[in-house]
């Protein structure tokens, strides 16, 4: 299986909101679409799902144009939507039927995901109740935002699709539910699914994604394998913490300090040689080194550099 997005373009008037965007996934895994607000991520996703008309380009799934009406796609939208006044069970069965899952199968899948996402008390309010009178089915407006998001995730996964598209899946979740969502995402990846994920949370992207595309104003400013991208930047982030003051060494070598924290001083070095020289200086001067770390730039830094730099040029 493979997913190919080829020169996808969308214009509103004269403005190109997505400009010849291309990427591909040859193997199951997670592909991240990154970008600032208004960069074109959601428009790209909507075009991929055939919700809006493309002004150019194509999306191929297994070599054929992707048609969500024929190929089941699990979609978790950025702005979650549930019918506020309808019962949760009715909605989930409806969403399953829309995805051609028959009634009985839908009920058993809802049960599975209800257990997995710990939603039994909302979907089966009578299960543990000893009262004779049946409780009224719960509606979406009676749920917290996090639980609504879980229902949305259920709706996205209920047809067991091979291709998943999650737009900001973890936004607004508490740490416990974030971990729950992450574990489910890991499970889906292990099942061999293709996941396109858009997110602002760089740490999450680094945790899941092998490949990324950074969008800025509809244009692809950086794309490729995340590890390769990081390697191309080299290890330039140095963190040092000593018991004694070592500011003279930093000043002597004219090093840029990024941040001063109780955990140490964060510096930008030119490369591994300069980092090694600083370490030599610290040892020579007999400083007690508590922490010494030399890292590649984080995705956050790369993102800010690429997007911020591009915006400054404009």
């Amino acid at each position: 299986m493979s997913l190919i997005v080829n020169e996808l373009t969308k214009c509103y008037g004269d403005k190109k909101v997505v400009d010849k965007l291309s990427f591909k996934m040859d193997n199951p895994g997670v592909y991240a679409l990154l970008g600032t607000n208004g960069a074109g991520k959601t428009t790209t996703i909507r075009m991929m799902l055939d919700m809006i008309v493309k002004d150019g380009g194509e999306v191929l799934w297994n070599g054929k144009p992707l048609n969500p009406l024929e190929t089941p796609v699990g979609y978790l939208a950025e702005e979650r939507g549930l019918y506020p006044k309808y019962s949760l069970m009715d909605q989930l069965i409806y969403f399953a039927k829309l995805k051609n899952v028959d009634g009985k199968e839908a009920v058993s899948r809802i049960k599975y995901w209800s257990d997995r996402l710990m939603l039994d008390e909302y979907l089966y309010p009578d299960r543990n109740s000893k009262a004779k009178k049946k409780k009224k089915p719960l509606t979406a407006e009676q749920l917290s935002k996090g639980n609504q998001q879980k229902i949305q995730l259920m709706a996205a996964l209920i047809s067991d699709p091979k291709l998943l598209i999650f737009d900001e899946p973890l936004s607004g979740l508490d740490p416990v539910n974030t971990d729950l969502f992450k574990s489910i995402i890991h499970e889906e990846i292990n099942k061999g699914k293709f996941l396109i994920m858009s997110s602002h949370q760089m740490a999450t992207v680094e945790e899941f994604c092998e490949n990324i595309t950074i969008l800025n104003r509809g244009k692809d400013v950086l794309s490729g394998n995340l590890n390769d991208i990081k390697k191309s930047y080299g290890r330039v982030n140095l963190v040092v913490k000593c018991d004694e003051d070592f500011s003279d060494i930093i000043n002597r070598r004219n090093i840029n300090i990024s941040e001063l924290t109780p955990d140490g001083i964060w510096m930008k070095v030119k490369g591994e040689e300069e980092a090694a020289a600083i370490l030599n200086d610290l040892i020579k001067e007999g400083k007690t080194i508590v922490r010494y770390e030399l890292n590649e730039p984080s995705l956050h830094e790369i993102f800010v550099e690429k997007v911020g730099g591009a915006n400054e040029k404009n």
Binding site: Y12, R46, M51, L69, Y75, A77, Y83, P84, Y86, K99
Partner: protein
């Protein structure tokens, strides 16, 4: 539009249908309507009894005021079955009172008309050389009077023509001399209680009833569309079905719900009528049906009742469909549920135009001098024809050509709306911003976009 564009509409239909049935607003409105229908017969009974008592007190005046048209006969062989049949038939026309008059009385009528003492119309039917001729006397404005009694005159002519054909073919014995005179008269007082007054009242009731139904259906559809749009459910739906399937499923579901409401109201009315019949010995349902049955349906060449019912249903369904489509676009024109009242202005505006035009034409036709051009326009305009034509059909005040043309225009307009909606609905569902105006929607249809910015 391809088949795939509406694939999945049944799923949307069944979900929307059952959720609307379950909704509290629907249950409450259904309950209220059924209650109103249930109490309507006893209430009508009560008021009719009061009216009867008042009329009885007036004695002879009652007879005069209830008479809208007088047809009189003289000097003919009462054994002639044909004329007796016609006599029976004409006497069943609403508001017609028949009496035998003498030559002297006929002359007296004519003199009164000439002296402008009476605004009666007189028909004289002569049989000369086995040919019938129909003469018409009206004192003050022959043309105007003829227009007013156009339907009835047509009936008379047709009946006499048939009679003549039968006589010529020798089916029965022909009386040697037949001379029939009919008079038709109206005074200002009689308009309110005559057949045209009744016609106006029924038109008014029908228009109000239809506006109520369209308002409910339109509101339901528009709010359902904007709820899905603002709540972003539409994004989830659109990876499973196309926008047109959403539109079709939703519109048909709401129309079905409305039809169920109407059916329930009719059942309640029938139950109320049966109960009233048992308790007060009055059959309001039959009385109402007989009023409708007594209306003139003979101008239509195909005046069979089931066909008329079918034509009325076609208009009703067409009107419901057309206005529901307008409502769905009105709902898609706004981005937030709070802005729905602003977006639905377009819908309300078209509804008011249609209903008021029909109402104005009905008033003009029945109470005023009558304007056939306005009536034709109102019959042909798709916004007003669903309000105006059904009663015209029932009361036989339209002809087959106008009716068929009007139906064709209505359904072509619906098809055009569906085509238009298929061009703009997708864009509108994802549009977020200020409420779209009609000109914006037309721009979308032409250019695929409304503004330069997103």
């Amino acid at each position: 539009m391809k088949k795939i564009d509406i694939t999945g509409w049944k799923k949307i239909y069944s979900f929307t249908f059952f959720q609307t049935l379950k909704s509290r607003a629907y249950k409450i409105s259904l309950l209220v309507l059924c209650l109103v229908a249930l109490i309507s017969c006893p209430v009508m009974c009560f008021f009719n009894d009061t009216d009867a008592k008042v009329t009885d007190d007036k004695g002879e005046e009652t007879d005069n005021s209830s008479s809208g048209i007088n047809v009189s006969y003289f000097n003919y062989d009462k054994k002639d079955d044909y004329l007796n049949d016609l006599y029976e038939k004409w006497s069943k026309e609403p508001g017609i009172k028949t009496e035998y008059i003498s030559d002297d009385k006929l002359e007296d009528y004519k003199n009164k008309i000439n002296d402008k003492e009476s605004d009666y119309c007189i028909f004289v039917i002569n049989n000369v050389d086995k040919m019938y001729s129909l003469e018409f006397f009206a004192g003050w404005d022959d043309t105007l009077q003829t227009e007013k009694y156009d339907g009835f005159i047509n009936d008379m002519e047709k009946d006499l023509g048939n009679l003549q054909i039968m006589k010529i073919s020798g089916a029965k014995n022909i009386p040697e001399s037949v001379n029939v005179t009919g008079t038709i008269g109206k005074s200002d007082q009689e308009y309110s209680s005559g057949s045209d007054g009744l016609s106006y009242t029924i038109t008014l009731i029908y228009i109000v009833f239809f506006v109520f139904i369209l308002s409910f259906a339109g509101e339901s559809i528009a709010s359902s569309v904007v709820t899905e749009k603002s709540g972003k459910m539409v994004e989830f739906l659109m990876i499973s079905v196309r926008p047109m399937a959403i539109l079709v499923g939703k519109v048909l579901a709401v129309i079905t719900c409305v039809m169920i409401q109407i059916f329930a109201v009719f059942c309640s009315f029938a139950a109320s009528s049966i109960a009233t019949n048992m308790l007060f010995d009055r059959n309001v349902l039959n009385e109402t049906l007989s009023i409708v049955q007594n209306m003139n349906t003979s101008r239509l060449e195909f005046s069979a009742s089931p066909l008329i019912v079918f034509v009325v249903i076609l208009y009703f369904a067409g009107g419901l469909l057309l206005f529901s489509l307008i409502a769905s676009l009105a709902g898609a024109a706004v981005s937030k549920i709070e802005e729905l009242s602003e977006g639905i202005v377009l819908y309300t505006f078209t509804l008011i135009i249609g209903a008021y035009l029909a109402l104005f034409t009905a008033i003009n036709r029945d109470i005023g001098s009558g304007n056939s051009i306005l009536s034709e326009i109102c019959s042909l305009l798709p916004l007003s024809s669903p309000f105006y034509v059904p009663y015209q059909v029932i009361s036989g005040k339209t002809d087959a050509v106008t009716l068929i043309t009007s139906l064709i225009i209505l359904y072509v307009c619906i098809v055009l709306w569906i085509w238009f909606a298929s061009k703009v609905y997708e864009y509108m569902l994802f549009y977020n911003g200020a409420t779209l105006k009609l000109k914006d929607i037309i721009k979308i249809a032409c250019n695929g976009k409304v503004k330069e910015e997103k």
